[in-house]
Symmetry: C2
Subunit: 409 residues, 2 copies
């Protein structure tokens, strides 16, 4: 068992029920023993689904399945297992997916193509799908509106704390609720930030608009977060809207009445993404990297990620060393337009470089103090144009080596 991240929250928010969503988790011993490792979510008729997936060209069977059924827009169930990724399992892997979705559809009286599925864990091992299908009666009997925490815990792998978030907002005066949970905590990088994350709302939003909102929010949340630059074969972010809140119809993502929902939705996803960064394998510090003045937002993000994924930057921060030369290195290797003598680096609010060199008479003491905290803030002002980006990551410590040198054993 890995030590709980020092960045874990002191307490968890209580997730209220979402009308039309019931959840259950069970111990199926797929890999882990004595803990729930399979999740079943049942959603009422009328639920709309949206999804964003890994860009990996070795995507796992469940990812291929979800991509394919997404066009139906209808969602009635979600099945998730931890401990086995069902990735690079060939024809066998897809056969497992078909058996699980078919059995779930039979149990919940819906169509297999209304059953979403996700897996996380070791790559390349055949999935013992009968352990999941055999558990379906138990899971179905255990379905409850209140089981959010059980659900969040069942999808964890090397996570040291569960990631949940909740928000209440309104659409045209009607209160709506959004609940979400996610798991990290290695192989975490855009695109898309490597993880499983599931978001549910009782809002009535058509699938096409939900999809647009999800893609936009993903860009500033999970796609702006990295742990190790490694992209998983299984990244899956799904959003489901049951429509039970009974708000008036939403006809466009640009509708004024959808604005508060849009904001709350993006904030909730960002909250979950930051939680994943805080639980990056071996993480001791959360690092927030702000790039301003870049040629474009895209260039800003590339530079931010070049810094966020640099092993030398991440190990220096683990060592509480304000080694800003490595930030310069990471900016330089990004390939994006920069002008050396315009780069201003600010660490923890203290300007470190100006005019292509260290600030004259630079006093490192306040920066060193900042480096000893567990929230590190790096701001880079490029002075070229107005592109900006915020990216979240964590430091790289001995814990990362410990966890990843022995994950399978």
């Amino acid at each position: 068992m890995n030590k709980i991240s020092p960045l874990a929250p002191a307490s968890y928010p209580k997730l209220s029920v979402i009308n039309g969503v019931r959840l259950a988790a069970a111990e199926c011993n797929i890999r882990y023993k004595n803990r729930p490792d399979v999740l079943l979510v049942s959603m009422d008729e009328g639920t709309q689904g949206a999804g964003v997936f890994t860009t990996s060209l070795t995507a796992a069977a469940p990812v291929e399945w979800c991509r394919n059924i997404l066009k139906n827009t209808k969602a009635r169930a979600l099945v998730v297992n931890s401990g086995n990724a069902n990735a690079f399992t060939g024809e066998m892997g897809m056969a497992s997916v078909r058996r699980i979705t078919q059995a779930t559809a039979t149990a919940l009286h819906c169509k297999p193509e209304e059953v979403f599925i996700a897996s996380t864990g070791v790559i390349g091992e055949p999935l013992a799908d009968e352990k999941i299908t055999n558990a379906l009666p138990v899971l179905k009997a255990a379905l409850k509106q209140e089981n959010w925490e059980k659900a969040a815990r069942s999808i964890m792998t090397t996570d040291t704390f569960m990631k949940v978030a909740t928000a209440k907002t309104h659409i045209n005066g009607k209160e709506v609720t959004i609940n979400g949970f996610a798991k990290g905590s290695g192989m975490i990088a855009p695109n898309m930030a490597t993880l499983l994350a599931f978001v549910f709302t009782d809002a009535a939003i058509p699938a096409s608009i939900l999809q647009q909102l999800l893609e936009e929010a993903n860009e500033v949340s999970f796609n702006s977060m990295t742990v190790d630059g490694d992209t998983s074969t299984n990244d899956t972010l799904l959003a489901f809207a049951t429509g039970k809140a009974g708000n008036s119809p939403v006809t466009s993502a640009e509708d004024k009445p959808i604005e508060p929902f849009k904001k709350a939705f993006a904030a909730l996803l960002t909250d979950l993404a930051i939680q994943v960064a805080k639980d990056g394998e071996g993480a001791q510090k959360l690092i927030t990297i702000n790039i301003k003045g870049a040629e474009s937002d895209k260039a800003a993000k590339t530079i931010a990620l070049s810094i966020a994924n640099s092993p030398l930057v991440k190990t220096a921060i683990a060592g509480e060393d304000a080694n800003w030369g490595r930030i310069i290195m990471a900016i330089g290797k990004s390939g994006e337009k920069i002008i050396q003598n315009r780069i201003e680096i600010t660490i923890g609010g203290v300007t470190v470089t100006k005019n292509g060199m260290r600030v004259p008479g630079f006093n490192e003491t306040p920066v060193n103090k900042h480096m000893h905290g567990n929230h590190i803030n790096i701001l880079v002002e490029l002075g070229i144009a107005h592109g900006s980006s915020t990216v979240y990551t964590c430091d790289m410590t001995h814990g990362y080596i410990d966890i990843n040198g022995s994950y399978r054993s």
Copy 2:
């Protein structure tokens, strides 16, 4: 002092003299104490120079200087210091370069634009160039044809062993000698593999042809090697040909008589590159990654580097875990064309995957045995076309974290 890499050579080759080249090293206390940290190389009139440099957009002042003087083709001196990179030092940094090259030119009776310069060490600290210029008389007096080992040692930073290589070959029947030395050992990644490397020969080769040979050899050696994916601000690979061997003129890089030299030159650079990988910070294992059957050589190299730079692959190998699922992950995230069910992964000569999944009845025992050795061989056959690439790297261990969490302090 870092522990010597377990991959260090048992003994070093003896480098014979190269007519027209004399070397000296001195203790200048730029950062390190009680060890030589400045190198002076004097080259006879008629020496031709060629160079390849970092692609970083925050390249250091000495890199800018060398790039600029390279067009003169004439080389008479090389000055190198360790402990300070003279990078991101603004106007001051370039002024330091001008003072050093001017003083060296005066001391050796040549032009400043015939003096090459390189620096390695901490980024962003002003370089105390007077420590170098003050040492020039001592350095000049110490110049000797035999000082290869001293030279190789003076440029080391976090290197745990010196990297030297030598070869004898012939051009049109005339024997020629090639000597080279290099330093790593962090911030090592193409392009170009981040380091300092200097190669000398007594062959008579015009600068333009030497440049072509250097670029070609660099592509399969230093540009095919990575430690941490971080590109330095100071990468410099220089080649010098004194012409003292008196071989008949070489008029084209495609000349038949230059073939043996070409091969020996590329082999020597590859030898140095592998030594740098073997001394990657904290390295316990040398990893050779062969990609075959890719869409193109370029695609093959992108995939090889995606595997070589993956923290998850490198930590798994450090943990002696044949976690080939992470290799699949790294192939998938590369963005290059692949077809999942054609990928064949072979580790230590044992085929692990076929037809998009683990080989049926796969026996992990021989692979695990291979993982316990210190030379790890990974072969990926993509089955698409005929592109291939070989890339060298090392594992990522606790040593990497130790060294890089405390480099400056």
